[in-house]
Subunit: 253 residues, 2 copies
């Protein structure tokens, strides 16, 4: 029955976890473990075993009952699924603080996303050398995209111009965009967009932190233990570190 039903519709939430599994499997690849159970993989990836099994079942990959999953095979499947076979270049638009930062960050190239180009709208920045690339002008986007094939566009501009930049990326043929700018960006439905907003993340943390210490504790007594002061009339079940919030706990059921 497991006739490789590859074109299955994989849930969004599962897709978002695949890269984490992949990372876990890569760590494992060095060791001599040939096979891994959902339980152990769950522990490594920070989820729970049921979720792991469901997720892997979507890939149509087979584990062996009573044994576990073949690491080698799973790794292969996962890589293929995530398109790790061929490298996908990245264009960073906006070479300000954040753009520079990202350009110097080795983490991209290391994981199969070589930096393909840097562009900026500011003539003063064009020509500047960053790493082993030279900043080009944003007007060249169409040619750059053509040169690179089908790159991912990374928007690292100030918020106010993010939408315009995204529009130009799309016009140039980019169909995957990662937005770091603090602004809402709209793209046509045939373009994938993900956003990472550092300030938003901090504000979310801020929300939970202040809930924990209504307006006393931490600020007045910075030395206190990290424990959430109980008895402040809060339900305290998992308000502090819920599932989505964290890769936290997940304490074995």
């Amino acid at each position: 029955m497991t006739a490789r039903r590859s074109r299955r519709r994989i849930p969004e939430a599962t897709v978002a976890r695949l890269p984490v599994y992949l990372r876990s499997l890569l760590e494992l690849a060095g060791t001599d473990t040939a096979t891994i159970s959902s339980e152990r993989l769950a522990e490594m990836a920070g989820f729970n075993a049921a979720k792991v099994r469901k997720d892997l079942s979507y890939l149509g990959s087979y584990g062996t009952r009573g044994v576990g999953y073949d690491v080698e095979y799973l790794l292969f499947q996962m890589s293929r699924e995530l398109g790790c076979s061929q490298e996908l270049p990245v264009i960073i638009v906006g070479v300000g603080n954040l753009g520079h930062a990202l350009a110097n960050y080795r983490g991209f190239a290391d994981r199969g996303f070589p930096l393909g180009a840097l562009v900026d709208a500011d003539p003063a920045k064009v020509g500047e050398r960053v790493g082993d690339l030279v900043v080009r002008h944003v007007d060249e986007l169409p040619e750059i995209v053509a040169e690179l094939g089908a790159p991912i566009g990374v928007v690292a501009t100030p918020g106010p111009v993010a939408q315009e930049v995204a529009d130009r990326l799309v016009a140039a043929g980019v169909c995957s965009i990662l937005n770091f700018a603090p602004a809402v960006v709209n793209v046509p439905p045939d373009v994938s967009l993900r956003k990472v907003d550092l300030a938003v993340e901090l504000q979310i943390l801020s929300f939970y932190q202040q809930r924990r210490a209504p307006l006393s504790a931490a600020v007045l007594a910075p030395h206190g233990p990290a424990a959430a002061l109980p008895g402040d009339g809060m339900p305290t079940p998992d308000v502090v570190a819920p599932e989505v919030l964290a890769v936290t706990g997940e304490a074995a059921s």
Copy 2:
């Protein structure tokens, strides 16, 4: 009936949207708009009107039927809820590429999260000046945390040491952590943890991109239009840019 039921349990998903509303309202604050409808706010924030109303209702904030929400008041409520009244300092642990990047990024301080300290385990890095801070040693964490009050800890180390660093942050009294390291990190349930993994984001985009162009098109004909080639036997409904994936479309129902 709207007797300010402040200690209401606000859903995770709503909390994650509050900062986006806040940003929209701040943009609005400059203009002369005194009041805004859920519809317009939805457009600005990139969600839909029903969601906006539900979300705002959790805050117990009142709009006026037939009119909309008072921008000023909503802004106040939202800021209070997110703890924007007092600045929350940030400690960055790990002054490598990414750490440097984040340290130079103005975006934090601008939005109420001043950089409080930089620390690293490498003695060679300790003493280095970055911006107007000097890198201190990770062993000093307890004192630094005490000095700063209740800072947010940002983990910008290589993956392998992320867990250890998180443990030390927690031990020092930090109860909000933002993890940039490509690794799973566990913290006690009374600590909030969020993660941002650049490589994971790119891999997710990679997944959808390759689904769109199974193994032809883009690579062989980089000039083609960005449109998803139809007729490749894919369901194509919203595989390309689903809700969670993007702040995309949301096209008015």
